[in-house]
C-alpha cells in the first residue's frame, strides 16, 4: 500500500510513465504553470502521489506550495487561463483523466472523486437552500424525483450529524454556522458516494473546537465508506490524527513522503524538520517561536538546484547546482534531499 513512486523531478516536461499499477488515484509527474502578464510561474514541477481505497494521504505545505493547484487539476477545475497543465498524468483507476473527454471527466466528478473546499460560505451557492444543493446531486446526477431526492438529502444531512436535518433542509447557507456549513458541504460532496474525497483545508476557516469535530467526522466517514482521502492542509496537528501517509510539498514538488510516525519521529528533509520544529511547544512557553527563515521562492524564478537551498540550514554547494530527485530512503519513505540518508540515520 505504501511503496513510494519515484519520480525524476529534474527532467523538464517529461510526460507520465503511463504504466498501469492498479491504484485508485495517482498523480504522476504532474506539471502545471500559470501564464500571467508578468511571466510564467511554474506552480507544479513534477508532483507524484497516489491514494488507495481506505487510506488517507495528507498533503502538507505552505500557501503557494502547489497543494491546492494539484487538487484542482485532479478535479479539472483549474482556471485556464492562467493555469495550464504542461506534463504528467492524473490516473483514476489507471485511466489518464487529462486525456478524457470533458463529458467523461464530468461524470467522474462527484461520483468518482469529490471535493470539499476551505470556505464553505463562499463555496455554497448563497441563493439556493442547503437542501436544494444536496438534493440537486440526486436529481441531476441520479435522476431521482423531487420527493425521493429530498428524502436522500435529509439522510445525508443526518449522516453528517446536523441536528434537526429535516428542519434545516430549507435553510440557506448564511443561516448556518461555520461548522454546520462545512458539514453541509461534506454531505453534498458525499451524496454520490465517491471513491476519493479531496478535502482542501476543510477546517482552516473554523474555530479550533469545531475543527476537531469536523476532522473527526471526516475521519469517521472515510473509515465507514472506505474512501481514499486526500487531505490538504498546512496544519501539522490536524495531520497527525487522521493521516496514514504524508506528502510534504515545497515550491511545486514533493520533498518528502512518509507514513505519519516516521515523518514525525525522523524527518528526512530539512524543510519537514523546520516545519515540525516550528510547532509551538508548551514546555517552551515565553520563548521566541521558532520559524523557518526566509520566504518560499518566487515561482517565476525558482533558484537553481534544490528550491529549498536559500532557506536550508544544511545547504552545501551541491544543493545550489543539482536538483535532488525524490528517492527512496527507507522501506516506505522518500525524500528529495541530497543529505536524506544523513538525516534519517542521525541519532
Amino acid at each position: 500500500m505504501s511503496d513510494i513512486l519515484v519520480s525524476e523531478q529534474s527532467a523538464p516536461g517529461s510526460g507520465g510513465s503511463g504504466r498501469p499499477s492498479g491504484r485508485l488515484l495517482e498523480v504522476d509527474d504532474l506539471r502545471v504553470e500559470f501564464r500571467t502578464r508578468d511571466g510564467v510561474a511554474k506552480v507544479i514541477n513534477g508532483v507524484t502521489y497516489h491514494v488507495d481505497a481506505g487510506e488517507t494521504l495528507a498533503v502538507l505545505g505552505e500557501s503557494g506550495s502547489g497543494k491546492s493547484v494539484t487538487a484542482q487539476t485532479i478535479m479539472g477545475i483549474l482556471d485556464t487561463p492562467p493555469g495550464f497543465v504542461t506534463g504528467g498524468q492524473v490516473r483514476f483507476h489507471g485511466k489518464d483523466m487529462l486525456r478524457m473527454s470533458a463529458e467523461e471527466r464530468r461524470r467522474i466528478r462527484g461520483e468518482g472523486i469529490a471535493m470539499i473546499f476551505q470556505d464553505a460560505l463562499s463555496a455554497l451557492n448563497p441563493v439556493f437552500t442547503v437542501g436544494f444543493q444536496i438534493a440537486e446531486q440526486f436529481r441531476v446526477r441520479r435522476g431521482l424525483g423531487r420527493a425521493e431526492a429530498k428524502k436522500r438529502a435529509i439522510e445525508m444531512l443526518d449522516q453528517v450529524k446536523i441536528p434537526n436535518a429535516k428542519g434545516r433542509y430549507n435553510n440557506y447557507p448564511h443561516q448556518f454556522s461555520g461548522g454546520m456549513r462545512q458539514r453541509a458541504m461534506i454531505a453534498m460532496s458525499l451524496a454520490l458516494d465517491p471513491e476519493v474525497l479531496i478535502a482542501d483545508e476543510p477546517t482552516t476557516a473554523l474555530d479550533v473546537t469545531v475543527q476537531a469535530q469536523i476532522m473527526d467526522l471526516l475521519a469517521e466517514l472515510q473509515r465507514e465508506r472506505q474512501m481514499g482521502m486526500i487531505l490538504i492542509t498546512h496544519d501539522l496537528g490536524v495531520v497527525a490524527d487522521v493521516a496514514d501517509r504524508i506528502a510534504v510539498m515545497y515550491a511545486g514538488r514533493i520533498v518528502e513522503e512518509a507514513d505519519v510516525y516516521d515523518l514525525y519521529a525522523k524527518p528526512a528533509h530539512p524543510y519537514t524538520l523546520g516545519l515540525i520544529d516550528s510547532i509551538p511547544r508548551l514546555d517552551e512557553k515565553g520563548q521566541q517561536l521558532r520559524t523557518i527563515k526566509g520566504l518560499p521562492p518566487n515561482l517565476m524564478n525558482i533558484p537553481p538546484g534544490c528550491p529549498f537551498n536559500p532557506r536550508c540550514p544544511m545547504a552545501q554547494p551541491v544543493c545550489r547546482e543539482k536538483v535532488p530527485p525524490l528517492l527512496q530512503v527507507g522501506p516506505a519513505r522518500a525524500s528529495a534531499c541530497h543529505f536524506a540518508e544523513e538525516l534519517v540515520n542521525r541519532v
Binding site: 477545475i77 469529490a114 471535493m115 463562499s122 448563497p126 441563493v127 439556493f128 441531476v140 440557506y172
Partner: protein, 308 residues
C-alpha cells in the same frame, strides 16, 4: 415581509404628494394665457374666461387648487380638458397602447440584452464579445430618433419587411420594430451589465463547486451562475419598465402609436394643463410601484436580503 411592505407603501404617500404637487404647481405656473387660441381667431369672451376660471379654480392659490384636484382625483375623477373631454377617458384609451409597447420593448431588452450579456460574459475577449461591445457602443451613442427613423425607412420603406407605422389594432408583429427602437439604448446597457455580472460570478467559488459536483455545464451556467448574476440585471429591467411605461414621446411619434407619450406631448403643446397633470400623476404612481416591485424582487432572487 408584511410589515416591510406596509412601511414601503406608507413611504409612497409623502413621495406621491410631494411629486404630484410639484408637477401641479409647475404645470399651472407655466407663463402664458391658458385660453389663448381656444376660441378660434377671436379673444375668448369674458363670460367664457370667467366660467373656466371658476371651474378650474384659477383665481385661487395653488394649494387650494391642488387640494381640490386631489380630492377629485382620489374619487377617480381626473377632471376634464378645456374642450370638456374626460381626461380619465384619454388615459384609459392611450395607456393600454403604451403598456403593450413597453412590454414588447422590455421583452426585447431581456432576451437580446441578457442573451448577449451571458454569451459575452462567458467568453470574454472573443470575436462575439468585441462585436457586442462595438454594437452596444453604437446603440448607446445614437439618439433614439435616429435609430427609429433609420429602421423605419430601411425596414418599412426600402425593404418593405414591416409596415412603416403601427395600425390602431396594435398587433404584436407590428410592435417588434418600435419595441426594439424604444429598448435599443437599454438593450445595450443590459448587455453590458449582464456581461460584467456574469464574468465576475464566473470565477466565484460556488460556480467552481457546481462544476466540482459534476453538474452539466448547462446547469452550472443556467442555474447556479445565472441566478446570482441576474440581481443587477433585474434592477435595471425593473427601473427601465417604470421608465418605459412613462410612454415614449419619440418612438410613439415616429411609428404613429396612440400612446400616453403622444397624449402628454399634445397636451403640453396645446397648454391642456389638466391633462398633463393627470397623465404625469399616473406615471408617478406607476414608477413608484415598479420601484417597489424591484425591491421585492431582490428578496426573491437573493435570500440574504431580508426586510425587517
Amino acid at each position: 415581509m408584511g410589515r416591510y411592505l406596509l412601511r414601503r407603501l406608507l413611504q409612497l404617500v409623502p413621495v406621491f404628494i410631494g411629486s404630484t404637487f410639484l408637477i401641479y404647481w409647475l404645470v399651472w405656473s407655466v407663463p402664458g394665457d391658458p385660453f389663448a387660441g381656444k376660441c378660434g381667431e377671436r379673444r375668448c369672451p369674458d363670460q367664457y374666461v370667467a366660467y373656466m376660471t371658476e371651474k378650474y379654480h384659477l383665481d385661487q392659490n395653488v394649494f387650494v387648487q391642488y387640494g381640490n384636484y386631489m380630492k377629485n382625483l382620489l374619487q377617480g375623477d381626473f377632471g376634464q380638458t378645456f374642450s370638456q373631454r374626460d381626461i380619465g377617458d384619454i388615459i384609459a384609451t392611450a395607456y393600454p397602447n403604451t403598456l403593450k409597447l413597453a412590454l414588447v420593448a422590455l421583452a426585447i431588452e431581456a432576451v437580446i440584452g441578457l442573451g448577449a450579456g451571458i454569451l459575452t460574459g462567458l467568453r470574454r475577449n472573443g470575436f462575439l464579445d468585441n462585436l457586442v461591445l462595438v454594437s452596444t457602443l453604437f446603440l448607446l451613442a445614437l439618439p433614439v430618433f435616429v435609430v427609429g427613423f433609420v429602421l423605419q425607412w430601411l425596414l418599412g420603406v426600402q425593404w418593405g419587411i414591416v409596415k412603416p407605422t403601427v395600425s390602431s389594432e396594435m398587433r404584436f408583429s407590428e410592435l417588434i420594430v418600435p419595441g426594439f427602437v424604444l429598448g435599443s439604448a437599454s438593450v445595450a446597457y443590459i448587455a453590458r451589465v449582464a456581461r460584467t455580472s456574469i464574468a465576475e460570478n464566473r470565477r466565484a467559488d460556488y460556480v467552481r463547486t457546481a462544476i466540482a459536483k459534476g453538474l452539466p455545464m448547462r446547469r452550472v451556467v443556467g442555474v447556479h451562475l445565472l441566478r446570482n448574476s441576474l440581481i443587477p440585471v433585474v434592477t435595471l429591467l425593473g427601473t427601465d419598465l417604470g421608465a418605459l411605461m412613462g410612454g415614449a414621446i419619440v418612438t410613439e411619434g415616429i411609428f404613429g402609436i396612440n400612446g400616453i407619450g403622444r397624449e402628454v406631448y399634445r397636451a403640453i403643446v396645446t397648454k391642456e394643463s389638466a391633462t398633463v397633470v393627470g397623465i404625469v400623476v399616473v406615471l408617478v404612481v406607476v414608477y413608484l410601484l415598479m420601484n417597489l416591485l424591484v425591491d421585492l424582487l431582490y428578496a426573491a432572487l437573493d435570500p440574504r436580503i431580508r426586510y425587517e
